[in-house]
């Protein structure tokens, strides 16, 4: 099957054409640099995104505290991670960079707080 996507590595925004007739080795064309080819392949084989969300807290002043994954997470794992985060109720104080969820599903990816809330 043929796919079209916009490369997001730089502002050029190349239109990539990807042929995944061989699903293990998708063929990328339309890219103007090697980064585009690598991006196209990763998007086909194992697309990843940094996930950001807010979690509920017992803080009197900031009831929802922002969090993110410390590395991009496989797209397929995102919905379940979000469900887990929405059920959290965290105790303050928390510090920017503190780990909320360690090594999510064995991926080596942590969810960290992105704001310091003292009370």
């Amino acid at each position: 099957m043929k796919h079209k996507m916009t490369c997001i590595c730089c502002p050029m925004g190349c239109e990539l054409n990807i042929d995944d007739t061989d699903p293990e080795h998708p063929a990328v064309s339309g890219n103007r640099c090697p980064r585009g080819a690598a991006y196209g392949r990763e998007e086909m084989l194992d697309p990843k995104r940094t996930v950001t969300a807010v979690v509920h807290s017992n803080s009197g002043s900031v009831p929802y505290i922002p969090v993110r994954t410390d590395k991009p997470l496989a797209k397929a794992l995102i919905p379940e991670l979000l469900q887990q985060l929405y059920l959290k109720d965290v105790q303050v104080p928390v510090k920017n960079g503190d780990v909320l969820l360690a090594n999510y599903r064995g991926t080596g990816i942590n969810v960290i707080f992105t704001r310091t809330i003292n009370q």
Partner: protein, 421 residues
């Protein structure tokens, strides 16, 4: 009444105000930052997504992380932060100093007597009135930034199914955010033939969730009694919506992401001249407005798309304030104006012996264009640009030799496209 003397008073504690404060306070100037919110950081605090700081901190941060970094810089440098305080007036004293009056939750009425003032109030969103969308006036219509605040700060869901008007970056970011909290985004409607947000946001915020983007379409009516029930969308033909081809999209929520306007009520009150192209103050190469001792930087000056450039511009503004208070400012040597295919250039003058950093915006989309600087029709500067878009601010540092030896002259910057789309 609370009164205190400062060398510099900065109005607004977002990225611009805090960056400028870090510069002036680090130079030993007694610096105050006044902000109407409880916490420093401005709009960054509700921008919980990543993508900030790649230029300034060489790492990818979320808004709150960027805010914390820049606030710690200002705090370490020794600036005084006044939270929950709204500035109501900037007066002029007989000795030329400025009196900033504010209402503060902690201090009541306060007066800060200052040798210099930096305007860093940021911008606010255009709303339904600005784009004159017909229809009824039900609940469920939000600006994208308001919906962002409801979700990310207050933890409230704005609705269940949404249509987003305008493809600005905040709208695109919100499309992903809404999808991630279980709200269905039916469509994004953009009146221009090209998206106004960054390609990366189109890819990661719309394509990831199969959200259709209607380019060259306009919302011609919002329907609903108590709550929004849907919108009527029509394609544009010769710049006019073709109502014969209109179609309905059902939704209970409409978000507007249709541009930002610098927030200059205070500037107007002081009598500062604004540039109709940016809606921000006209400033010289020292970032000083037409009023001596009053400076401006960040989104109050012109709307940026990257916070990194807000900080860069505000650093420069802070440094100019330091020089001003030490009587070391260089007078303007000549003016800079925007020529063909440029909507604006800021700042609007140049001087020898300092960094000549200019920000500008193109009027239309171009694959390749030459940015040319000319004095009296004589070319003194040329740079090739690729993928020029109105959505992406152009940042140019002019080499000193381009500007040397042109006293009293006007430098015209203009874009010369190879092909116009």
């Amino acid at each position: 009444m609370f009164k205190e003397d400062f060398d510099v008073t900065i109005i607004g504690g977002g990225a611009a105000g805090l960056s400028a404060a870090a510069a002036t306070a680090a130079a030993g100037l007694k610096t105050a930052v006044i902000d109407r919110e409880e916490y420093p950081g401005g709009i960054l605090l509700q921008c919980i997504h990543n993508g900030f700081g790649l230029h300034r901190y060489k790492t990818e941060l979320t808004g709150p992380e960027y805010a914390e970094k820049v606030f710690l810089e200002a705090q370490k440098a020794g600036c005084t932060f006044f939270p929950s305080s709204t500035v109501t007036a900037i007066g002029k004293m007989t000795d030329g100093k400025r009196l900033v009056t504010a209402y503060s939750v902690r201090h009541g009425v306060m007066e800060l007597n200052s040798s210099a003032v930096i305007l860093a109030m940021g911008c606010r969103e255009r709303n339904r009135g600005n784009i004159a969308t017909p229809g009824s006036r039900p609940a469920g219509i939000f600006t994208a930034g308001l919906a962002q605040r409801l979700l990310n700060v207050d933890g409230c869901l704005p609705g269940k199914t949404a249509v987003i008007i305008g493809s600005g970056d905040i709208g695109l970011i919100m499309a992903r955010r809404l999808s991630w909290v279980g709200i269905t985004v039916k469509a994004v409607i953009e009146i221009q033939p090209y998206p106004s947000g960054l390609p990366r946001n189109i890819a990661q915020c719309l394509e990831d969730f199969d959200i259709p983007l209607f380019l060259g379409h306009s919302v011609v009516r919002i329907d609903g009694n108590d709550r929004v029930s849907g919108v009527q969308v029509a394609p544009l033909t010769d710049g006019q919506p073709d109502l014969n081809k209109a179609f309905a999209i059902g939704c209970d929520t409409v978000l507007l992401s249709v541009g930002l306007v610098p927030e200059n009520e205070l500037s107007r009150q002081v009598g500062i001249q604004l540039d109709p192209a940016t809606n921000g103050p006209i400033v010289d190469h020292n970032h000083m407005t037409g009023e001596p001792g009053i400076f401006a930087c960040g989104n109050v000056l012109h709307v940026h798309d990257l916070v990194d450039y807000v900080s860069e511009e505000s650093d420069a503004c802070g440094n100019a304030v330091i020089n001003y208070l030490r009587n070391r400012n260089t007078p303007a040597q000549g003016k800079i104006i925007a020529g063909t295919y440029l909507r604006y250039v800021t700042p609007c003058s140049f001087a020898p012996g300092q960094r000549n950093l200019y920000y500008m915006r193109a009027q239309t989309v171009m694959d390749k264009a030459d940015l040319i600087g000319a004095v009296d029709g004589r070319e003194v500067f040329r740079q090739r640009l690729h993928q020029v878009k109105p959505a992406e601010m152009i940042r140019i540092e002019l080499p000193p030799e381009a500007l040397a030896g042109n006293p009293g002259k006007t430098l015209e910057l203009s874009l010369h496209p190879e092909t116009v789309r």
